[in-house]
């Protein structure tokens, strides 16, 4: 479904990605783990067109989308829940979710999608009219993921959904991610929390300073000595 081929991205003179190749197949949850500054967020930003690669291709369903403006990438079915949650803190929960469905025009569809989000995160229904900036961190994460789902993405990109959240909240967020995937959405997940990410994904890539150093099924990687030492704290 999504293929990154030999992707190079730089910020000025700093090379953030030095030729990475990644594949995400239909129906999978793929996770990208790595330390701070390894290039995880850069990868997602390049897929969505917020950054343009120096070299290499981003193929979505066989079509090269590198350099496509972000709003057109979104229209093709790729949605991203940005790092640090990125909710519009000045808008209400409802307005945030409606913005997720910005490209949809059918009110009935928006309404039914809204119900699906509420089924996923019942808490949001209670908070609907609240200004998002006043929500707890976990609730904001729910808004961010729910908002991405409002666009009915075929590929969902999640940037550090567990960042700064209590373990219990992380658990419920990842349960939601499992459900989203079961309902048919392919997921590319970027995480520092390797332990949880490997448990909730099919395959994984390990990114270190802009290069892929390891890849394989999540089970294999969770058992790998290097991964255990470097990322699972053993």
């Amino acid at each position: 479904m999504l293929q990154l081929q030999d992707l190079h991205v730089s910020y000025g003179a700093i090379k953030a990605l030095k030729g990475i190749t990644i594949e995400v197949k239909q129906g999978e949850v793929v996770t990208l783990i790595g330390a701070n500054g390894a290039g995880k967020t850069t990868t997602l930003r390049t897929i969505t067109g917020l950054l343009t690669p120096k070299q290499g291709k981003v193929l979505f369903e066989g079509k090269d989308i590198s350099g496509t403006p972000t709003h057109k990438v979104v229209a093709q079915g790729i949605c991203m829940s940005p790092e640090g949650r990125g909710v519009f803190a000045n808008l209400s929960v409802e307005e945030n979710l409606e913005l997720g469905a910005y490209l949809a025009s059918d009110p009935a569809r928006i309404k039914s999608d809204l119900e699906k989000v509420f089924a996923l995160f019942p808490r949001l229904k209670e908070r609907l009219k609240q200004i998002s900036g006043t929500l707890s961190g976990g609730e904001q994460q729910m808004v961010a993921i729910g908002r991405a789902m409002m666009a009915r993405p075929r590929l969902l990109l999640l940037d550090e959904p567990s960042l700064g959240l209590a373990p219990l909240v992380v658990k419920s967020i990842f349960q939601a991610i499992d459900e989203i995937n079961k309902a048919g959405t392919t997921v590319l997940l970027v995480e520092q929390n390797a332990h949880t990410a490997l448990k909730h994904s099919h395959r994984a890539y390990v990114l270190e300073t802009g290069t892929i150093v390891l890849e394989g099924s999540s089970e294999e990687l969770a058992a790998d000595k290097r991964v255990r030492e470097a990322y699972l704290g053993e």
Binding site: T70, E98, Y102
Partner: protein
Amino acid sequence: MELFLQQLINGIVQGSIYALIALGYTMVYGVLRLINFAHGDVFMLGAFIGFYTANLLGISQPSVGALILVMTVSMAGSAAVGLVIERFAYRPVRKFSRLTSLITAIGVSLLLEYAAQFVFGATPKSFPTIFETQNISLFGNVTISNDSILIIIVSIFLMVMLNLIVFKTKLGKAMRAVSFNLDVAKLMGINTDFIIAFTFALGSALAAAAGILYSVHFTKIDPLMGLLIGLKAFVAAVLGGIGNITGAVLGGLLLGIAEIMVSGYISSSYKDVFAFLILILVLIVKPAGLLGSAAQEKV
């Protein structure tokens, strides 16, 4: 007391014009974090477009229809000018630092002023009478002219319309999203270039409306008329809290009233000093303005 009331009325009229222009500054700052120096000159262009429209159409009889027609043409023309400025001057430098954008804006402002001097001539022109003005006595010696009433009514109408657009439409929601975070707005599928252009058009149209109202009221227009008024309207936007629409209206009215009071009770030669003092005080003491929230300058 009568003097005070008279001053208050004059202040509200002056303040309404500031408020209409301040709205454009504040909206553009909201979406681009750019002080659009050229905004005051769009106000000037609005007045000149009105001047030529009225003359070309040969409007000889003042009427409400003529006013609406002239204002509509001027707003549309200025919106187009705003779009051109955004597309060819500001958009290409967006990728550079904010200071580059600021210098570009100063350049655009000077270009409009001096090109206008070259094309229209530097001497002030008399704005055609498209609206019959007469004074209405309220009580005692307090009077209000009907064009002052017009200014207040049109300003309120346009501000209500703007509020509806920003807070009740999908486009408005997208504008607010862009002003909060450009990248996240893009991730919603919002064509942010379009939203930014739309914001410029909207702000420019409001400035043009202010230009027409100003010209009807003060009757003289010249190519540099936007310079000081533009700066003052910017002060108003900062005072209210730049990026905040209600703040711009509040700031405009406060500045207008304060300025008329200063010239009435202290000295008219110090009213401009007063405006700049407000600007400096607000920026140094409370950069977020009266209604603004978070600090603007991010690292």
